[in-house]
Amino acid sequence: GAGVSQTPSNKVTEKGKYVELRCDPISGHTALYWYRQSLGQGPEFLIYFQGTGAADDSGLPNDRFFAVRPEGSVSTLKIQRTERGDSAVYLCASSLNLGDTQYFGPGTRLTVL
C-alpha cells in the first residue's frame, strides 16, 4: 500500500512569507507526527496528533508554527513570517496507534532566503 506522502518535496520562500506543508499519512493510521531535521542533525520532534486533536505540541519552537489535522487524516504544518533559521527538512510520520512504530515520509525541504 501507499506510504506516507509529503508535498511539496521542496519549497523555497522569502523571509517573512507564509508557508504550508502537507502530509498524507498511511491510510488507517490514527497517529501523525511532525519532526524538523536541520542540516547535520537528527530529527527533532514538533507535534503529534491522535485523531484530530494535537496530543502534544511541546516541540513547536514558537507561535509562528501551527499544525492542523481537521478530519483526522491529512495534516498541514503552517509557518508564519518565515525566518532563515526555519530552513530545514520537515518530516512527517504516522503510526497505526500512538506508541506503534512510526513510518516516515520523504520530507519537505524548506529553504528560506
Partner: protein
C-alpha cells in the same frame, strides 16, 4: 525526558564484513522503546530495528541485530555481511512508553567500501 548520543559521526566497512554502530541513551522512564532508523540520500527514514526495554532478548532482523545493555544504557547496532545498499545515515532513537515522540541522536554516516 530522554537523551540519545551517537559518538561516531562516520564509520566505514568493507563489503561483506561486519560493523557495529554505537548508541548510548539516558532516560528517567522505567518503560521505553529504542530504535535504529536508516536514512539514505532520498531522505526517507526507514525503520531498521525496534527494541522494547522490558525485553531482555536482543532484537534481530535478518542481517541486523542489536546489543541492548540496559544497565549501561547502551544500544548498539550490528550489521553483518554488509552490502552496498547499507550505505546511509543511521539514527538511534528512543521514546518513553507514555510519551510517543521520538528523540534522535545526531546520526552516524556509514560508508560501504566495495
Amino acid at each position: 525526558a530522554q537523551t540519545v548520543t551517537q559518538s561516531q559521526p562516520e564509520m566505514s566497512v568493507q563489503e561483506a564484513e561486519t560493523v557495529t554502530l554505537s548508541c548510548t541513551y539516558d532516560t528517567s522512564e522505567s518503560d521505553y522503546y529504542l530504535f535504529w532508523y536508516k536514512q539514505p540520500p532520498s531522505r526517507q527514514m526507514i525503520l531498521v530495528i525496534r527494541q522494547e526495554a522490558y525485553k531482555q532478548q536482543n532484537a534481530t532482523e535478518n542481517r541486523f541485530s542489536v546489543n541492548f545493555q540496559k544497565a549501561a544504557k547502551s544500544f548498539s547496532l550490528k550489521i553483518s555481511d554488509s552490502q552496498l545498499g547499507d550505505a546511509a545515515m543511521y539514527f538511534c532513537a528512543g521514546s518513553g512508553a507514555g510519551s510517543y515522540q521520538l528523540t534522535f541522536g545526531k546520526g552516524t554516516k556509514l560508508s560501504v567500501i566495495p
